[in-house]
Structures are given as C-alpha cells and as structure tokens.
Symmetry: C2
DNA sequence: GCCTCATGTTGATCTGTGTCAAAGCTGACA
DNA sequence: TGTCAGCTTTGACACAGATCAACATGAGGC
C-alpha cells in the first residue's frame, strides 16, 4: 500500500479530539465543525510523510506509534522525535517536510487538510492555543534531548533513555513494596542507537554494563526492571524530568 | 541590575510587531489592544530567565541576542537555541523554565504578561497562527540540529555551523564576481563548542584544518571568508538548508 | 611602553566509542 | 525437527576527539 493509495475516510466522531486538540476545552467543540475530520490508516513500516514530500495536512495520532528521523546521504540516521497517540505532525502549505515520518506500528491518524485546518484555527482560538502549547512542549523536549546528544556519555545516554521510557510508558508496572519499576523495551538496540547517536554495539555494551552494576535487571532481551529509579536517574546525569517522549 | 529590578515600561508603539507577531498581517493590529505592550531591557551577560524561575511572561526580542543553554551539575553545558530579533521566548503560567536564557549582548524585549497574552491570543487568531508557525519553525530547526549533534564528525559540525551562520547573518557581504561570502564570527571558540557538543580545542583545530584545505580563509581570528559556499556545504555533509539560526 | 587577562593555537597523550568480525540466541517456518 | 534470518552479545583493534599543558596573540588599563 503506497502513500498515494491511502484511504481518506470522513469521520464524524474522532475519538482523539478530547485528548489532543480539545484537552483543555469543553467537550464537543469539534463536532460543530462538520466535514473537516478525517481518518487515515498506515501499515507498520509505511511512510506517513517522506522527507521532501509536500506535507499537505495536519494529523493527530489516534493509535499506533510513528518515528521522526533525519538521514544523511551516506546512511547515518538520527531519530528526532516520536509520535504517540494525541501527538501532532504536519505543516500544511509547507514545501517539503524536514524529516521522514514512518509508522513503526500500524497507525491511525485523524487528519485535516490545509483549508479546513486554517478554518479550525481561526474559529476556535482555544484550540489554536492548545496547539501552540503542545508545540512548545515538543520544543522543550527536543531541546532537552540536545543536551543528551551533545554532552552525555554513552552510559548516561542509555540511562537517560531508560528513565524517560520508565516515566512515559503507560504499560509499566510498579512494585508497591520495593518501588521497583518494570516495562517492556519496545525498541531494538538499533533504534535505541538512532535515538542516542550511538552504534548498536555501544548500546548493547552499556546495557550489559548497567546490568552488571545492578542498576537494571533484564529478563530476556527486552524486559527491564529498575529496582531503584533514583539510582537510574543518577546514572543519567540528571536531566530526566521531562523528556523526549513527552 | 538583578532580574527583579528590571524596569517594565509601558510602550504604545512597539517597533518589533511587524517583524514578529504581525509579520503576515495587516499593519496596525496591535495598536488597538492598548495597555498590553511592554519593553524590558537587559545588560549583556544578564539572565533573562534562569532555569527553575517562574517564566511569567512571553517576550519578543527587539534588539540584541540571547542564548538558551542547558547545564549539568558538573558544568557541562549545551547551547540549545539562539534568540535573535523577532524571536520569541516564554511560557506564561509554566512552573520553572526548562533552560537558562541569557542576554549575550545588551538586549531589549517586548513583553506580555500572562493575562494580556492570553487575551491577545484569543482576540487575534492570525497572531496566534503566526506564533504557531514560528514555534514550528523553531522545532524544525531544533530537530535538524539534533542530527548535527548526534551523527556528524567534528569537521562536519564546524562546517554546518559556518554555513548556517553564512546563510543567516544579515551583515554578511558577498563578492558579486567570485561569489565569495564573508562575515564576522560573533562567537568565541568556546561558544561554538557549546553549540556543537565539542571542546574548544577541537573547534580550534578543525577551523585550522578547514583553513589549511582552503574551504575558508581567515583574517584575524574572527573574520571568515568562504570562497565557495558549495564546497563548505559539501563539508557539512549536507543538511544546511534551514537550520538552527532560523 | 609594560603588564594583565581573555582568547586562541598547537602539541603530546589518553580514552571512549566506532569498526570489523565472530558467535549466541530466539522465533518463524518448512 | 532442522534451518534460517533477525537480533543481540562479545572481543580485538583503530581512531576521533578529550584532556592536559605550554605558548601565542591582542585589547585594555596603568
């Protein structure tokens, strides 16, 4: 299924609106602006927007996860953001996207084309304000990540990523007596390397090192338990009070 | 002069409005919203907002330059953004700023407090839209910089920074026959290192290396001439078509 | 002029991370 | 059951960039 073939389906009842656009407004605002709400579906691995394409819509993730990546000609790649449900992407009217957006799971987005989006912005100032807030949050997160990329050691980078995942991951479990936290790493070592500006070998080695010093406990390759979050945060250097994942 | 002592002066005629907030709207919009426009002045080196302070206003730079930096307890610092005239900063109502904002030259800002700012956003949707656009531009620039920090070599980093400065610097001169471009580097080697996640020694060495291979010509320490921009962009790996500086 | 201090350059050496290579593990599938 | 492919770990080695140190340059003040 190519980008061109993606179905565009009108929807009269977008489940995302209360979390995303309307998170701070009265319930049913959007329903009154009929004809401007759409779904789009993408399969895992499919590009949502490819760097250089016209990005002619604004979309909010309903379900699934997408990654934002930048790539150099020689193949070096850097992940620059994640889109989780309720996050936004898109610059209607902007020539050429700045980075690739790829669905890493099956993905559903609620999309607005240029004109309806501009109408929406003009008619509902509180939605415009909420969008600005969300964008500023993303900007803060991106800037925090710049410190990780520019100044932290490999070990600190891994610890930063783990502590941010631990804070953000909704499916995490917490042991009430010990306070230990566990979660599934949904990333390959290579994906982690792309977030952190490292090689996958270095990621693997540093995870082994954190395991050996007892900061984390691994079951299998992907299930992580953190016996003491403070210890992990300490390893991260400190940041870790907001972060890349929102 | 401490932050608390900064004068807050009502102004009825803010010269920045057409470049910043109103860049895409009819001329005199702001004049009709009297009583919500302010100036603030800062001396070079003075903090505008210190990380952890309440950031209780939104400000647009009228003149001067400020830097945004993040610092770790052990002193490692990473520059995460620049504020040039017409740029914005601030999150009214947000507890604690995410990073330090410091005036690096004498600085004048046009500021809005929380309430007037929210009124402005509500009453003038085209200004709200313009603010969103500007914030999205900054987000794109931050993400582009993440590629530089995470994946580029020292030499590529220097070339990236120089080509971005060459594109952004208003005071640059261009030789009409040869196409050579020259400008003054307004940054110390240390500041460049903080942008690029390097040490100042590495910055110095790589500048010398670029000079030796003829990509740039130096007069004194700070005046740079680029005989062939394509050559510099090639050295940068490629990105360099938007960038950190706006 | 001379001193001082901030900024910049260069050299020698060290080290963290990349690179290349081999082998282990796990789940899918025939 | 065996095989295969993708992911992960681990080792040996190389190298880019950090660190430590010495010296150069240039502007400002006396």
């Amino acid at each position: 299924m190519t980008l061109a073939e993606v179905q565009t389906i009108h929807c009269g009842d977008c489940p995302i609106r209360h979390r995303a656009v309307c998170a701070r407004c009265d319930a049913d605002e959007l329903e009154e602006l009929d004809g401007i709400k759409y779904y789009r579906s993408y399969e895992a691995g499919q590009p949502v927007v490819w760097s250089g394409d016209q990005m002619n819509f604004v979309g909010s993730v309903v379900s699934g996860i997408a990654t934002l990546t930048q790539t150099m000609e020689d193949g070096r790649t850097q992940m620059v953001g994640l889109l989780l449900p309720s996050d936004f992407v898109g610059r209607p009217g902007r020539e050429g996207a700045a980075y690739d957006v790829v669905a890493t799971t099956d993905l559903v987005m609620c999309c607005f084309r240029k004109k309806p989006f501009e109408d929406l912005m003009a008619k509902t100032p509180h939605i415009a304000h909420r969008l600005l807030e969300m964008t500023l949050d993303e900007l803060d997160a991106a800037r925090e990540w710049m410190l990780v990329l520019g100044r932290k050691t490999a070990r600190e980078k891994i610890a930063s990523l783990l502590s941010i995942i631990a804070r953000r991951d909704a499916s995490l479990t917490k042991d009430p007596t010990s306070g230990a936290v566990s979660f599934d790493l949904k990333l390959t070592r290579e994906a982690m390397a792309d977030y952190l500006g490292l090689t996958l070998e270095t990621v693997s080695r540093q995870i082994s090192a954190l395991k050996k010093s007892g900061v984390i406990v691994l079951e299998g390759k992907r299930h992580v338990t953190v016996p003491d979050m403070r210890r992990l945060i300490e390893e991260a250097g400190d940041d870790s009070d907001g972060g890349f994942w929102g």
